[in-house]
């Protein structure tokens, strides 16, 4: 068996492979090109090199456990994947999320969105020869990831947003780090605007290259910045506001031509909006209980004391809990005992707490949503990130399907590069922000 392209190719044309391992194919994807000189007559995109059976694996994991797999979908913005999954489950279970957790989620998901856009544009800039812009953007991303790492403990595999809320409270120095991150990112965005916006080389490679019409973009199921670059104002955050986006003030930047340059510009301007959202949300964060700093028994002391009489004093479990103390739970987690992780303070200090802990994590117990199915989506870095979950009433999903935004975007690649030159593949592909983990699942 040979591919469609090989069968249809003209005898005098040349067949050439780009990828699956190619420096400009960030992510493993194979594009077979049928060339007449430098011109692309036909092409065929082959995906699946990063297929990790995400959906199959999820069917054998409990609802709580499979959260970590969602980190690995769009690995540049894991927090948005966490959010999408958590919110789908919350819709299924009917949970009410505390206001503080909602604002934390907004801040985190916008930080991820910026890092997603920065990564995409950095790679795109580098591949068109603008290495300085690449380094600047990577620098900004590091500052944002510092903020994320401080609170969540990881740069990429965060698993921070959980069903029912968020895992832990923000780091005490969060606002300081965030302020620095925002300042640095603003400075970088300004620099990059200066470097690229009117750069002749960059314009030649992107203006009127990879053009898609409004109608085609919709027919291909495009969403996110790529759809908005064609002038269609669809953003899940505005159309179906979730978390607290309806209480925040932001705009949806639009393009008009739907070419690579518009996709670049929409992403650049979206980052400005995301910074605005972060500032508003961070300013509105409701207060929280202070961590237990002094007083309280050390765990060993508590165990000794409990041999004679039940300990009534607070037990000093912090700093190991890193912001997930029971006192803070009302601001972070929904108050639905069966669906959220029991507070560690209880687990370690009372038998009832220990039993609740086991009941939550034991096979066959834990989170068991009612039978039914649910679809929910959030605005991911690439567009509408939707989860479709079918529950059969047990503690693991019967079926979990991810609507990956870049799946739909990349499926239009063949059409966009048809009749163009080989060099146009690079910026066109770069502006799509294909993420292997999300596309291949």
């Amino acid at each position: 068996m040979s591919s469609r392209l090989e069968q249809q190719a003209r005898p005098d044309s040349m067949l050439i492979n780009m990828g699956p391992s190619h420096p400009a194919m960030h992510g493993t994807i194979r594009i077979m090109l049928e060339l007449d000189g430098e011109r692309i007559l036909n092409s065929e995109v082959e995906v699946g090199y990063l297929h990790r059976a995400f959906e199959k694996t999820c069917e054998s994991r409990t609802y709580f456990n499979l959260l970590i797999y969602t980190d690995r979908l769009n690995y540049v913005s894991p927090l948005i994947n966490n959010l999408g999954y958590a919110m789908t489950m919350e819709k299924m279970l009917g949970l009410e999320i505390p206001e503080r957790a909602q604002y934390i989620r907004v801040v985190m998901s916008e930080l991820s969105r910026i890092s997603d856009h920065l990564t995409c544009l950095a790679a795109m800039a580098m591949e068109t020869g603008a290495f300085t812009a690449f380094l600047y953007k990577m620098k900004a991303r590091e500052f944002l990831w510092d903020v994320i790492e401080q609170t969540t403990g990881a740069r990429m595999t965060t698993s921070y947003i959980r069903i029912g809320g968020v895992r832990a409270d923000l780091h005490p120095d969060f606002h300081v780090a965030l302020k620095k991150g925002i300042e640095e990112t603003r400075a970088v965005l300004k620099d990059v605007h200066g470097l690229l916006d009117k750069n002749k080389i960059f314009l030649n490679r992107t203006r009127d290259v990879g053009v898609i019409s409004k109608e085609d973009a919709v027919a291909y199921g495009w969403t996110g910045p790529c759809l908005r670059s064609t002038g269609v104002a669809y953003d899940v955050r505005k159309a179906f506001p979730y978390s607290s986006y309806d209480r925040l003030d932001f705009e949806i930047p639009l393009g008009d031509r739907g070419d690579n340059y518009d996709r670049y510009m929409v992403r650049m301007r979206e980052m400005d909006q995301s910074l605005r959202i972060i500032e508003q949300a961070a300013a509105r964060l409701p207060g929280t209980a202070k961590a237990l700093t002094a007083g309280g028994l050390e765990p060993a002391e508590a165990i000794r004391a409990s041999r004679n009489v039940r300990v009534r004093e607070d037990i000093q479990l912090s700093p190991n809990l890193e912001g997930s103390e029971k006192k803070r739970y009302p601001g972070l987690m929904a108050s639905s005992p069966g669906f959220v992780v029991p507070a560690k303070d209880d687990t370690y200090t009372s038998i009832e707490g220990l039993i609740r802990h086991f009941k939550f994590f034991m096979k066959g117990h834990g989170i068991r949503p009612p039978r039914g199915e649910v679809y929910f989506s959030v605005e991911g870095g690439n567009g509408e990130l939707g989860y479709y979950i079918v529950s059969d009433g047990t503690d693991r999903p019967w079926r979990l399907h991810l609507r990956a935004p870049c799946f739909h975007v990349v499926s239009a690649l063949e059409q966009l590069i048809q009749g163009r030159y080989v060099a146009d593949v690079i910026p066109t592909f770069g502006s799509m922000n294909m993420i292997g983990g999300e596309l291949d699942r």
Partner: protein, 159 residues
């Protein structure tokens, strides 16, 4: 005035051929017969329904239940900002359904994915091949009877 439910519109247009889902969730869900799919989809795509976007298309394996498979389509109407889920059941013995590639371009890859992972054939699909798996892969991994840790036989080296 509240907008009319798509279900009501569909019931008027296709009397007796459209059913509401047994448990009405928050989303709008309708069930149809598989032979009506193309007709219903074309009706939904045109204004005034205007579900211009095929948001998602997937399959669920309900083994050992019968009919075993269920196709799930998510349509989205941009001007009206509304989603609709259309479901239809497929018998294991007749695992075939009309392709939507003539109406939506992204149906091409989506249907290839379902063909790859579930083995559902799509009538009228221009290029029905596996999408994620390689040529020579045996079985359809998202079916319930495909074991999680199943090892595939080696395939011949390709020229």
């Amino acid at each position: 005035m509240a907008e009319e439910k798509t279900l009501a519109v569909l019931e008027r247009r296709f009397p007796g051929r459209v059913r509401p889902a047994p448990v009405p969730p928050e989303d709008e869900v309708v069930e149809i017969e598989k032979s009506d799919l193309l007709e219903v989809a074309a009706f939904l795509k045109t204004p005034p329904q205007d579900f211009s976007m095929l948001l998602d298309l997937t399959c669920v394996d309900y083994a050992p239940g019968t009919p075993r498979f269920e196709m799930v389509y998510h349509f989205f109407s941009l001007p009206r900002l509304r989603r609709l889920r259309v479901k239809t059941r497929l018998e294991e013995s007749d695992l075939k359904i009309a392709s939507l590639t003539s109406l939506w371009k992204n149906a091409n890859w989506l249907e290839r994915e379902v063909f790859d992972l579930f083995g559902v054939a799509f009538d009228g699909h221009p290029d029905l091949r596996r999408l994620f798996m390689y040529e020579g892969f045996e079985g359809h991994p998202l079916r319930k009877d495909y074991p999680l840790r199943f090892r595939q036989p080696r395939i011949k080296m390709r020229p």
